[in-house]
């Protein structure tokens, strides 16, 4: 479980995150949504320690990240897997070598066991057939799957995903969403996804946090998102024509049922 208390982040006097409180439970997919520039990526970077917060606490199962020494942070990070927006695979290594890399750095397994574990993770994301290809030789969706395999290879306790569906077609996005959801429940990890894709929210958002201009505006489950009476959230959710029509259809059905 990850808890965030009074998280504040300022850049040159500009408040990007304003007193955020949140709890991210284990075994469920937590999604942070918001418009571009709402502070969600900054929040993710604060959560993993890539950007130090101005003030506040970030507790990983009770341990405060903001007061840890660099050695402790590095040890904690071995329990973290992260899927970057652009996948961030190492260009000069094959898909298999990318997945094996964390094992080579931190595992005591021998080479055969490392390879076996990496192949298991690649099979889990249905990418074993591309094990010997370079990142430049595979598609965007395959890169994301390879990055998920790399993120879970050390059995992390926490998984972070930054815009996992950016640049992907709807079908591939769905595959990635389902994979993130399956991995979260199978490995019982705390997963935090940053996204502005409402399809992801409806597909896998067990716990949804809506950020607007650095402020936590709303929190609830995916089933509550469509029913919420928060004006800013509704502006965001129903900016999509599809979701507006779904909402209208739901209202018509509800009226007909009443009638």
């Amino acid at each position: 479980m990850i808890e965030v208390r009074n998280l504040v982040k300022e850049f040159d006097g500009t408040m990007v995150l304003n007193n955020i409180d949140a709890t991210f439970q284990k075994g469920v997919v937590n999604i942070i949504i918001g418009k571009s520039g709402s502070g969600k990526t900054v929040m993710l970077k604060c959560l993993v320690g890539l950007t130090p917060p101005t003030s506040g606490e970030i507790l990983y199962d009770g341990s405060n990240l903001t007061t840890m020494r660099s050695g402790e942070v590095r040890r904690l990070r071995r329990d973290i897997g992260m899927l970057f927006q652009g996948a961030a695979l190492f260009d000069s290594r094959t898909v298999l070598e990318n997945v094996m890399f964390p094992l080579e750095m931190f595992s005591r397994k021998n080479r055969r066991e490392r390879r076996k574990r990496a192949e298991f993770c690649l099979e889990r994301v249905d990418l074993l057939h591309a094990a010997n290809l370079l990142p430049s030789e595979i598609s965007g969706g395959m890169k994301k799957r390879a990055a998920i395999a790399r993120a879970i290879v050390l059995n992390p306790k926490y998984l972070f995903c930054d815009e996992p569906n950016s640049g992907l077609d709807p079908k591939t996005s769905q595959v990635i969403d389902e994979l993130i959801s399956d991995v979260t429940t199978d490995f019982n990890i705390t997963t935090i996804v940053v996204s502005h894709d409402m399809n992801s929210v409806i597909n896998i958002g067990d716990n949804v946090i809506f950020l607007n201009e650095g402020i936590k505006e709303w929190e609830g489950s995916k089933s509550q998102v469509m029913e919420a009476d928060n004006e800013k959230l509704n502006d965001f959710v129903f900016a999509s024509d599809l979701f507006r029509k779904i909402k209208e259809a739901e209202e018509i059905i509800s009226e007909e049922e009443k009638g």
Binding site: L50, R77, M105, F160
Partner: protein, 249 residues
Amino acid sequence: MSIISSLESIGQYALLLKRVLTLPDRFNQFMKEFLKGVYALGVNSIWIVIIISFFIGAVIVLQIALNIDSPMLPRFTVGVVSREIILLEFSSTIMCLILSGKVGSNIASEIGSMRITEQVDALEIMGVNSANFLILPKIAAFVAFMPVLVIFSMFMGLFGGYIICMVLGTPSVETYVYGIQAFFTESFVWYSILKSMLFGFIIASVSAFFGYTARGGALEVGEASTRSVVINSILILATDLVFTQLAMG
């Protein structure tokens, strides 16, 4: 304002070096990266060292032969002077200025590209000391291979002079060979090698700094690469001045 930002950069460079100069997490991974660095930065630079040293060596001998034309000076002076120029300054300083363009831009653009595509962040998130993992093997590889490049350069520079003497006949090949052996001081070779290793450290670490701190996109990586070459050139020349005064003054 620019003085403050320069001082900030020096501070950031010192802090980066503090992270770089630590023991590697995994020695076998360090050796892998070290050997890659030896090949990419050192072995791949041999051809440019050979070509440039040969022609510059030939031009040095040609210029000296044409300009030292006095009955007061014996002809073998051409060989002596050419040797001292090649050994003391050309093979270390000028060659490193050239290599700062090739190797420096290579390091800055490689690490800069990794930075903007979040590969450096990915290493950090895994708990890897990214500065140590990416930069230390490059510095170690380039510094370790520098003596090889310098010796190649010395040999090819003197060989270029030999060929020009053979073609033009003035001075004769025998006089030139006598000249390059006369009054030879072995310590000049060691001085040159030591100096080039220092320059190797500057080239690799400064270029890595500019790549590592690059932000933005491809344009910024290009700018970082250019800036690294400019700063490296200035630092090499300034260090040469200080080092020469300390070692030979």
